[in-house]
């Protein structure tokens, strides 16, 4: 696991610490990784020598995009397709049920 490096930004009275965070890629095929600590916007991580900055706050255990996705692009975790993008998603964004969907176990839009 990577070392946590902290730098401070003074914004008014609040001190927001931009930090390097730990992530987990479960399968080599995955185009998302799991955040292993609570993270805020601008927190960053290095993955395969590339730096990724988070676009927004992402809670522990949630996913972040390793690439830009267009509508209907496949989202891969555990080496398998877990859903498709509902909207355009940019690298470093939070990936969750607001921007991805799976039709398994429910009536598909065209079936009604």
């Amino acid at each position: 696991m990577t070392q946590v490096k902290v730098q401070s930004l003074n914004i008014g009275k609040r001190v927001i610490k931009i930090k390097e965070i730990n992530i987990l890629q479960i399968s080599e095929k995955d185009n998302v990784v799991v955040i292993l600590s609570e993270a805020i916007a601008d927190d960053y991580f290095y993955f395969k020598d590339e730096k990724y900055n988070l676009k927004e706050a992402i809670p522990f255990g949630h996913k972040v995009a390793l690439a830009d996705f267009a509508v209907d692009d496949k989202i891969i975790k555990y080496g398998e397709i877990i859903g498709i993008a509902k909207e355009n998603i940019s690298r470093g964004s939070w990936i969750h049920n607001h921007n991805i969907i799976s039709d398994r176990g429910r009536m598909k839009a065209g079936d009604k």
């Binding site: 809670p59 975790k77 799976s102």
Partner: protein
Amino acid sequence: MKFMGYRRSDGSAGVRNYLAVIPSVFCANKVAEQIALSIKDAVCLTHSVGCSQVGEDLEQTARTLKNLATHPNIGGVLIVGLGCERFTPAEFYQAVKATGKEVASVVIQEEGDSLKAVAAGIEKLYKLEGVVSNYRREEIDISELIIGLECGGTDASSGIAANPAIGRTSDLLVEAGGSSIFSETTELLGAEHILVRRCSTEEISEKLLFSIKRTEGELARSTASDKYQHRSALISTGNFAGGVSTVVEKALGNIHKTGTAPINGVIKFAEKLKAKGLNFMDTPGQDGESTTGLVAGGAQIVLFTTGRGTPTGFPIAPVIKITGNNETYQKMQFNLDINAGKIISGIENINTMGEIIFDFVQQVASGRESKAEILGHDELFNIPRVLNYCS
């Protein structure tokens, strides 16, 4: 490897020695409860079924109640009937008696009224207690152990820590000649192509795929109306908050519970295991209904992973709670037995945590109480319906 358990007259082995009171129908629930309250440590398995049922629906209720009453964790059982129910107390009594288990019954309409039935029931339960308390623990081979693999209150840590850890525990038990059962058909959608590769015969993979297809068809049918567009999520608000975005993501994390052993059998809800090793039971995804099926199927102990944290237990079987979330473990230490979050912190790995859990399972099999037992949790007894008459 051995554990200290109870040898029963039908040859099976229990990890607990319960004196149980089981109603054949919900109408007898209060009488059953009042009888059980009068004798120390008796457990009462009240439920909501037993009458106005037909066909496979009635059969599922009958199978569940018979297989629980004959479960090796129970040393003796008192059946409490009303007298006019479809699942008759006589059929229930005969099924239990045939296994050689100590059993008695009391029927309210035969005794006269509920007060007389309570009085008669207490006397019968008192006599049963004398038999049950004579059982002593003896050495039993670990190969006679069956564990249920359950999860509830899932978050993203379950799929990367707690589930792979109990998957390793399941592999260790199977390697030692024992068995484990996974269930919850709704939690397999999207992972079936991985599971079929592990089925030991073509017939088993076909049965597994059929269960998933049937369940998915039912789900699609019942969520088809626009009226239910906000009630169509297969995963809970807590799952979402915990970072699980889709049912497929949940399934891919879920199947890590099954380890790497071949799948040797597919069984119906609450059906007793036929094959040794890893088995799949077709059950609903609700924790209580699934756990009820697993225990009725013969599981003496249930391993229950929970990222969000849940305190629940089962009345006649130890439920061991394992979380993959360090924060949840700190918050719910009175409810959670094992912190598999140590995998995420880098203190343990999946293999070492699997061994820690296997060691804990052996201690629980020999008498150590799980936290759900210490606190008396028994919410997981819940018999599902096959037919539902409401529209």
